[in-house]
Structure formats: structure tokens, C-alpha cells
């Protein structure tokens, strides 16, 4: 995680800092402009006029993984691509989140059974925060996934986790 995590005990200051940090992080999740297949078109549609991802502050598609906060894995991940996706994920700066969009990246989707060249779920190579269902998901579904991700971010804390 980021610079400050895990260095403090839990107290009032930390709680309010948490609020500020999580507010900032959840309010500006810049996605990596990274489309693979069908879902990428729906991702573009989500960014376009009708649904407008930018309303949530997530419209600033970054071309470079270094500046992106969330990676929307939109589409089928093949084995050839899986290696690259892992590298892209490693290049992203903490804190980073992954939205797996659509059946293919969730679990291989339709290509699950005979797809000798398809990775069975992007979570085999990188950790996934939110799975958005659909093949492809409606733009609303992606927005809902983003809202879910925001909820998840808001529950984070910089306080040191108790050893449990």
C-alpha cells in the first residue's frame, strides 16, 4: 500500500485522516486506459456521453500504468497477455485496485471450457478487488462495480492492522 500505511496505532487522528485519504482515493480513481476485447467497447461506452464515468472522477484515463489507480481488466485475458498484465499491474503505483470486468476476466467466461489459450480468470495473475458480471456488462454494471470499489476503499484504514 501507499506511503503511510501500517505505521500508526488506531486513534482519532488516524480515523479522520483515514476519512480524508479514503475520500480522496475513492473520489479520483483514475483508470488505466486498457481494453482487451468486447468489454473494452462497453468500457468506452461507459466513459462516453450516455453514462459518463467522469461524473465519479474516474474519467481521466491514464495511458501509463504509473499514474493510474484502477485497472479495469476489460475482456478476455489470454495466456500470452497474462504475463503482460502482471507486468502492468506491477508497474502501477500503490494504492492500486483492479476491477475485473465481464465474464471472461472473471473466470474465462465462455472460453472457459475449450479455450486452450485463455486464462481462467484474471485473478490467477493479479489480485482482483471487484468482479463485475456480464458478458459484456452493461455500462451501468461497470458503474455499479466502481461504486462497490469505492465502498471498499472507504473501509480501508492506515492504522496498523492487529496481528490476527
Amino acid at each position: 500500500m501507499g506511503v503511510l500505511e501500517g505505521k500508526f496505532e488506531d486513534n482519532v487522528l488516524v480515523t479522520s485522516l483515514d476519512w480524508v485519504f479514503n475520500w480522496a482515493r475513492s473520489s479520483s480513481p483514475w483508470p488505466l486506459s486498457f481494453g482487451l476485447a468486447c468489454c473494452a467497447i462497453e468500457m468506452m461506452a461507459t466513459g462516453a456521453s450516455r453514462f459518463d464515468l467522469d461524473r465519479f472522477g474516474a474519467g481521466a484515463y491514464r495511458a501509463t500504468p504509473r499514474q493510474a489507480d484502477i485497472m479495469i481488466v476489460a475482456g478476455t485475458v489470454t495466456l500470452k497477455m497474462g504475463i503482460r498484465i502482471r507486468r502492468l499491474y506491477e508497474q502501477m503505483a500503490d494504492p492500486k485496485y483492479v476491477i475485473s470486468m465481464g465474464s471472461c476476466s472473471n473466470n474465462g467466461g465462455p472460453y472457459w471450457k475449450y479455450g486452450y489459450h485463455v486464462l481462467k480468470g484474471v485473478d490467477e495473475v493479479i489480485p482482483v478487488d471487484v468482479y463485475v458480471p456480464g458478458c459484456p456488462p452493461r455500462p451501468e454494471s461497470l458503474l455499479e462495480g466502481l461504486i462497490q470499489l469505492k465502498d471498499k476503499i472507504r473501509r480501508q484504514t492506515i492504522a496498523r492492522k492487529s496481528e490476527a
Binding site: 480524508v20 473520489s27 472522477g57 481521466a60 504509473r66 503505483a93 494504492p95
Partner: protein, 351 residues
């Protein structure tokens, strides 16, 4: 600066401080104020850009963060960027990599020193103001080259080289297109230039004579190129070079580039306002309204922001040029035109 010194004298016990602290305090305080000012300005410009772009594209833009039309969006972005992990690639040249954002940001920040926001609100009214602006602006190039080279990434390097070539070339027509104004005023001081334009819209240099009128457009286009805005944003052309010279930058260092880009936007708009649109001077002719109704700084901001708006407008309208077309435009179109303008303005002044 003077006003800040006056302000500090109001605070008790400052005289009891050590001498060197007393000496260093006013510049330090004004620097901090200026920094905050620039940061807020840049954040506002970012928000404005996102909203304007969205509405041009039949979207809404940021809507939720902070409440009304996502006014806090840029604040959230900034906090988030500051909190992000700061990656220094293992293959990069560490020292230069870390220094580059500062070298890019400092000039754009330092250039604000000579912007006359109002009759008395200017940090330092240098008598070589315009020259100072160009001197400081030339430092940015080094930072960009540094960033591009130190990242050890081919895209960055391409971006850096393109950017350096672009800024260095466009500095020439930009500087030349300022000359007509300087010839008329006979001074390099920004404040003097504004004073020469007081008394209403007809005294602004845009409308003074045809040469200055054209020079305004010329300067505006060249300044677009100098701050790497579309249609001249090839150094960071997303679809070609990923993100240009700041491809490898993340978190805070990227925030500095971002901030520098947007403060530069405001800076060139401010310069154009000062040189051509009368700076803080009033709009209505003095014959009709003898007293300045709106305070100078507000007028200045309105004028500068409208130019920023035009920059944004252009960005979301035009495709970008190619490198050779960009250079063609500079050397074959802008430069001859600028020379003609200087010549014409000079002849007009002599005559």
C-alpha cells in the same frame, strides 16, 4: 513583496526575530503564498478543463465529489496523487529522475513573480520583466529533457526530445511576436506595459494596430505550443508516446508535472493578457466610465481565464499535428509572420 513586508510589520514581535530571519521572512512568505495561489489556480484550471470538455462532449463531467458539480474533484485528485506510492524505476537515473519535476515546476512558478495582477499586486516589477519571463521559461526545457532522459524509457526520451525541440523552436516566434508591443511601449517592464494600455478597450494592444492584432494571435498559438497543449501536444501525445516525458512518473512527482502544465497554461494566458489585453486595466473606454469599477485583479483573472478557456476549447476540438508539421508551422509560417510583424510594427513606430 512590499505589501507583504508591510503586512508582516503588523504582526507583533517580528522585530524581535534575528536579523536574517527578518530578511528572509518576506520573500519566504510571499513564495509560500504564491505557491498556494499557483496550486489553487492549477486545480481550478483542471476542474474547469474537465467540466468544459465534458459539456462540449455532451457529458456532465465530475458531478459528485464535494457536492455541487464536483467542485472538489481536483482537491481529491491532488490528495490522492500526493498519497500515492512514489516509484523510481530501478533502471532510471535516480538523481536526475528525482530532480526533474522540480526543475520543470520551479520556472513556471518563478515566472508568476512578474505577472501584474493589479496596480500594486505584483511580487516584483522587474524592469526586464518580459525578458525575465523568457529566461525563466527556457529553464523548463532542461527539466523536460532531464525527465525524458532519466526515465530510461524510450517513450519518455522521445517525448523529452520532441518537447525540447518544440519549445526551443516556438520560443523564437513567441519572443518575436512580443516585440511589437515592446516597440510601442519602449519598456520591458510588465507593469509599464499594462499602464500603456489603460483607458479602455481601444487602448489594448490587440486593437492598437493591425500588427499587434496579428501578434496577439501569433503569440497565443506559439504559447500553446510552448505549454504543450493540443494541437501541439505531441510530446505527451497519448496515442503515440503513452504519456511522453512523464510516462514513468507516478504520485507526487507526476503531480508536479501536472501542476506545472496547468500553471503554465494560466501563465501564458496571463502573459497574453498583460501584453495584449490590457492586464488589469478596465474594459470600458475611459471617456464613458472614468473610474475603474471592477478591481484590477478580478479583471485580470477574468481575462486570463477566458484565454485559458480558449486553450481548453481548442484542445477538445482539434486533432494534433505531427512532428514535422509542427516544425513546418514554426519555421515556415510562424517565424516569417513574426518577422513581418516586428518589421511592420517597427516601421509604424518610427513613422
Amino acid at each position: 513583496m512590499e505589501s507583504i513586508r508591510d503586512l508582516l510589520e503588523l504582526i507583533p514581535y517580528t522585530t524581535a526575530l534575528p536579523v536574517w530571519v527578518q530578511a528572509i521572512l518576506p520573500p519566504a512568505v510571499s513564495a509560500v503564498i504564491l505557491f498556494l495561489f499557483v496550486a489553487v489556480l492549477a486545480m481550478f484550471a483542471i476542474w474547469l478543463e474537465r467540466k468544459v470538455a465534458a459539456h462540449m462532449q455532451d457529458r456532465l463531467g465530475p458531478m459528485y465529489v464535494g457536492g455541487w458539480h464536483g467542485w472538489a474533484q481536483s482537491i481529491a485528485d491532488t490528495i490522492k496523487l500526493l498519497l500515492k506510492e512514489d516509484i523510481v524505476p530501478a533502471a532510471a537515473d535516480k538523481a536526475l529522475f528525482k530532480a526533474a519535476p522540480a526543475i520543470v515546476f520551479i520556472p513556471s512558478f518563478a515566472a508568476f513573480v512578474v505577472l501584474p495582477f493589479g496596480i500594486s499586486s505584483i511580487v516584483a516589477d522587474l524592469n526586464i520583466g518580459v525578458l525575465y519571463l523568457f529566461a525563466v521559461a527556457s529553464l523548463t526545457v532542461v527539466g523536460i529533457l532531464m525527465a525524458g532522459w532519466a526515465s530510461n524509457n524510450k517513450y519518455s526520451l522521445f517525448g523529452g526530445m520532441r518537447s525540447a525541440a518544440q519549445i526551443v523552436s516556438y520560443e523564437i516566434p513567441a519572443a518575436l511576436s512580443v516585440m511589437p508591443v515592446i516597440i510601442i511601449v519602449g519598456s520591458l517592464s510588465m507593469q509599464q506595459i499594462v499602464r500603456a494600455q489603460t483607458g479602455g478597450i481601444q487602448n489594448w494592444f490587440v486593437f492598437r494596430n493591425p500588427f499587434t492584432f496579428l501578434a496577439f494571435f501569433l503569440y497565443f498559438i506559439c504559447s500553446l505550443a510552448e505549454v504543450n497543449r493540443t494541437p501541439f501536444d505531441i510530446p505527451e501525445a497519448e496515442s503515440e508516446l503513452v504519456a511522453g516525458y512523464h510516462t514513468e512518473y507516478s504520485g507526487m512527482r507526476f503531480a508536479f508535472f501536472f501542476l506545472a502544465e496547468y500553471s503554465n497554461m494560466f501563465l501564458v494566458a496571463g502573459i497574453a493578457t498583460t501584453l495584449f489585453l490590457g492586464g488589469w486595466s478596465q474594459v470600458l473606454p475611459a471617456q464613458w466610465v472614468p473610474k475603474q469599477l471592477i478591481p484590477g485583479p478580478i479583471l485580470f483573472f477574468l481575462k486570463a481565464l477566458s484565454l485559458v478557456f480558449v486553450q481548453i476549447w481548442l484542445r477538445w476540438t482539434l486533432p494534433r499535428l505531427r512532428v514535422d508539421q509542427l516544425m513546418y508551422l514554426c519555421w515556415k509560417v510562424m517565424l516569417p509572420l513574426a518577422l513581418v510583424l516586428v518589421l511592420g510594427a517597427g516601421l509604424l513606430a518610427v513613422w
